[in-house]
Symmetry: C2
Subunit: 206 residues, 2 copies
């Protein structure tokens, strides 16, 4: 059993911490593992896509699990706020948890704004090559604000949320995401189909 | 999809954050989920038991995963030390991660000294009733020190490790663990068999 420190960082070498090999996990689940990292503005559709994708995958007998604000901010990261340092630590922990899930053979779907490029790139660097799939969920801020599912834009405009991504804090879009989805143009099922295609193309799904 | 804040804390109500129900997960994996929390002195055999149990479970086509120092201390908890506050935060995060794995349908096996009763009880309080299985791995400290697999007791006796559980820091044994294993008396396979029996008795394994 190799320790994390010995983990190879080079391409095409799969790393497993577990005493159970990657091959054994693959045989058990029937599929590979990866992290599908949805990033985009509040209201762009990240959670909706992640949750629908999870349902479709589980119906296909694929081990998949969503990490989002609901199960992370109220649990693991309940002791973090929204300062830049805390946002960075928030994403770092989520990346480490996603890596553990992947190691256990589970496909992870994350739905966090994750506005800083450096934070997302740090997560990418944790993962074996090809197992971090960054998905930019594109939607004009005007449309996100129109949807305003959680009423957050209204609060942000009223100055009740000090650092709100897209209003009073920056969103740094990925430069080379594995996938770009346009949730203003395409519906949920079309977007989910594109992620499934990408997972198949990469051999993560059979 | 209910939020964590709405999670029922009362007995016999299973909580699922995921959009995928407990029943769907059960159908997918063919087994229930739980956290088997091994606790005991350094060298008592926690990791050996967890790793062997993981192998046996995966051979039985059970989704199981070990969380231990190797994959936690070098990853998620790399920014924590060994002060009492950091030890508490270490165990808190592990508990939250174990809960996420359980929610995803994976049986978690943890191997941490976890010397403080309050920290373990806080993890228990996170979990649905009956899904936290505390296993005291008993072994006289003299035998642990004789084994001294990692050479830590030698260093602790030489004063090179300031707060070492059992030497210069306390170990608070569980008062009502679900299981007590004696690794001086029983071999690995016998101990693993007892955990398997317990998981079957509780209906977590078929």
């Amino acid at each position: 059993m190799s320790s994390v420190k010995d983990a190879p960082k080079s391409a095409h070498i799969t790393w497993s911490h577990s005493s159970v090999s990657r091959e054994q996990r693959l045989k058990l689940t029937g599929h590979g593992a990866a992290t599908v990292w949805f990033t985009g503005l509040s209201g762009s559709g990240k959670s909706t896509l992640a949750v629908r994708l999870e349902q479709v995958l589980v119906e296909r007998r694929v081990q998949a699990y969503v990490l989002d604000g609901d199960n992370i901010r109220h649990g693991l990261n309940r002791n973090l706020g929204f300062s830049p340092a805390d946002r960075t630590e928030n994403i770092r922990r989520i990346g480490e948890v996603a890596k553990l899930f992947n190691d256990a053979g589970v496909i992870v779907l994350t739905a966090f704004i994750s506005p800083y490029r450096a934070d997302r790139d740090a997560v990418r660097a944790l993962m074996p090559d090809g197992e971090f799939i960054e998905v930019l969920v594109e939607c004009p801020i005007e449309e996100c604000e129109r949807r305003d599912v959680k009423g957050l834009y209204k609060k942000a405009r009223a100055g009740q949320i000090p650092e709100f991504t897209g209003i009073s804090a920056p969103y740094e879009a990925p430069e080379r995401p594995e996938l770009v989805l346009d949730t203003q143009r395409d519906d949920v099922e079309a977007c989910v189909a594109r992620v499934l295609d990408e997972l198949e193309r990469r051999g993560i799904l059979p």
